[in-house]
């Protein structure tokens, strides 16, 4: 019964994973179409397909300042700048991102104690010593500048800090609540079932009654961290944290290392010397198993990244319908269509926000469970 239940879960998870990759691929096609079919009209508001695409892509990337709104007519940005912290050839340099004046194509060069820095497509570059201006090759790659190690408090980092703050605030208050009585009150009543859900429906069945407790800290933190960040991404604040590949790589690597460090003798034996098969088979299975070890966290990081990125891109695309369909449907029609489509997708995205947090945690605990499982003699 237990195995059947598990396999149903696994199949569902796989289906979801496939489905989400399909959505992502489809979206990629749309992008290409948009790219082919470009308007030449240049207006101040962002309403051409190219501008929308650029805007959308810009949103999906990390940024060094926090802009809520840009007045296209005056070119004024409403928001605030964030600190830039970079490790350059001359050591650590810090300054506010306002120094770049919102320029994102390498035209503004900040000279910081002899280090010339510029920002191209949300990345900070250091110019070569004798260069005064960035030169680009035909693929728009900078030829006389290189990327620096960027520890800036970017929008993504702000998002993560905000999520961390919310997590600490919410759950320490829940923890404090238990000192007053065994039954939580107020908002803690909402949080408690979620904690119990992660414990009883994610960790316990996958890792096992005896060992689950050790991993609860990681699983709970990751679950709520991803969920809150996914939800923050749906707010107009414009965070795209879990749709950032560096973030998902980090999350998946945590799972990877936890799995490897908690792997018992059986786990390593099943990778490097599969019991119960002929010797030749054992040798043939080693690379496959090692590959499997690596593909597990890889699937985790790609799934989360792709789902969230796709969701954001779709929402941005649908909002853009209001502008692109203005001519064919009229202002009201365009806005109406855009509004309802965006509303519909946003509702799905709320589900996806939870689902992706759940899948990440679920699969992490599944992998941990596989690593700590006590195998019976075959």
């Amino acid at each position: 019964m237990m195995i059947a239940k598990n396999s149903i879960k696994l199949v569902t998870t796989l289906l979801i994973a496939l489905f989400s990759v399909a959505t992502f691929a489809q979206h990629g096609d749309n992008h290409e179409e948009e790219a082919h079919d470009t308007h030449s009209t240049v207006g101040n508001p962002i309403d051409t397909k190219e501008e929308i695409k650029a805007y959308s892509e810009h949103h999906l990337k990390d940024s060094h300042d926090f802009i809520f709104y840009t007045d296209a007519a005056t070119g004024e940005h409403k928001g605030f700048s964030l600190p830039v912290i970079v490790w350059t050839s001359k050591g650590l340099k810090t300054f506010m991102s306002s120094a770049f004046h919102h320029n994102d194509d390498g035209h503004v060069i900040v000279d910081k104690d002899g280090v010339k820095l510029t920002k191209i497509h949300s990345k900070i570059y250091e110019l070569d010593a004798n260069a005064t201006e960035v030169t680009f090759d035909d693929k728009h790659h900078a030829t006389n500048a290189h990327k620096v190690l960027d520890f800036s408090i970017t929008k993504t980092v702000v998002g993560m800090l905000l999520a961390s703050f919310l997590l600490l605030l919410g759950f320490t208050s829940l923890a404090r609540g238990y000192k007053k009585g065994a039954i939580p009150t107020g908002f803690a009543r909402v949080l408690e079932p979620l904690v119990i859900y992660v414990r009883d429906d994610i960790a316990r069945p996958n890792i096992g009654e005896k060992k689950y407790r050790k991993y609860m800290g990681f699983l709970l933190t990751v679950f709520f961290f991803i969920w809150i960040l996914n939800l923050l991404g749906l707010t107009p604040l414009g965070f795209n944290v879990t749709g950032n590949i560096a973030v998902t790589v980090c999350l998946a690597l945590f799972t990877f290392f936890i799995v490897q460090f908690s792997g018992n003798k059986d786990y390593w034996q099943h990778i490097f010397w599969m019991p119960g098969v002929p010797v030749l088979m054992k040798i043939a299975l080693i690379p496959i198993e090692v590959l499997g070890m690596l593909t597990k966290p890889f699937s985790l990081l790609i799934r989360l990244f792709a789902n969230i990125t796709a969701g954001h891109a779709v929402v941005m695309g649908l909002i853009a319908v209001a502008y692109t369909a203005k001519q064919s449907l009229g202002i009201a029609g365009g806005f109406g269509v855009s509004f309802f489509l965006t509303l519909f997708i946003s509702l799905i995205e709320i589900l996806v926000a939870f689902l992706q947090a759940f899948i990440f945690t679920m699969l992490s605990s599944l992998f941990i469970g596989m690593a700590v499982a006590e195998h019976d003699e075959h």
């Binding site: 990337k61 990390d62 970079v86 490790w87 990345k123 190690l149 960027d150 520890f151 800036s152 970017t154 993504t156 980092v157 993560m160 800090l161 961390s164 997590l167 600490l168 759950f171 320490t172 829940l174 923890a175 404090r176 238990y178 000192k179 065994a182 408690e192 904690v195 119990i196 414990r199 407790r213 609860m216 800290g217 990681f218 709970l220 933190t221 990751v222 961290f225 950032n244 590949i245 560096a246 973030v247 790589v249 980090c250 999350l251 690597l253 945590f254």
Partner: protein, 166 residues
């Protein structure tokens, strides 16, 4: 894929690792551990309470069964006692009857004895009285008869007539 690699920022990755690590440690210490401990102790408390209730129920059942048993025993005992009493009563009655019979028999026998002895005595007395009376009468008769000769003869004649030889 190239775009993906291009988007990957090592600095952000490092920042994220630090934030996540610190977050996990903080959450573990200040949130998850107390929460999970509280949940566990609460669940154990509930389980204990349920167990205790179940035990109490069982105990109650046992107690009831005990009561029932006691009642049954008492009833049986009463029954036995009553039976015993009845037997004893019967026995006593029987013994009493027997004794009474014996006593009566004895009294009757004694009475018979007394009657016999009294009768004998009475007989003896009667005999002596009768014989004295007879002698007296005989004396008187003899005295009278002897004074008159004819009378004597008459008497003899009369006596002789009375005594019929058979």
């Amino acid at each position: 894929m190239e775009m993906l690699l291009n988007d990957f920022s090592l600095g952000l990755f490092i920042m994220q690792s630090i934030i996540l690590l610190v977050l996990i440690l903080l959450m573990r210490k200040f949130a998850w551990k107390p929460i999970l401990d509280a949940l566990q102790s609460r669940e154990e408390g509930i389980q204990d309470a349920l167990d205790a209730a179940e035990n109490a129920k069982l105990e109650m059942q046992n107690l009831n069964a005990d009561n029932e048993k006691l009642l049954k025993e008492a009833r049986a005992e009463r029954e036995a006692m009553l039976k015993e009493a009845r037997e004893m009563k019967d026995q006593i009655v029987a013994t009493a009857k027997e004794e009474a019979q014996e006593q009566a028999n004895k009294m009757v026998a004694q009475a018979k004895e007394t009657i016999t002895s009294e009768k004998n005595a009475a007989m003896a007395e009667l005999k002596s009285t009768v014989s004295g009376l007879a002698i007296e009468i005989a004396e008187k008769v003899v005295k009278q008869e002897l004074s008159d000769k004819s009378k004597q003869l008459e008497l003899v004649e009369k006596s002789l007539a009375e005594v019929t030889l058979n």
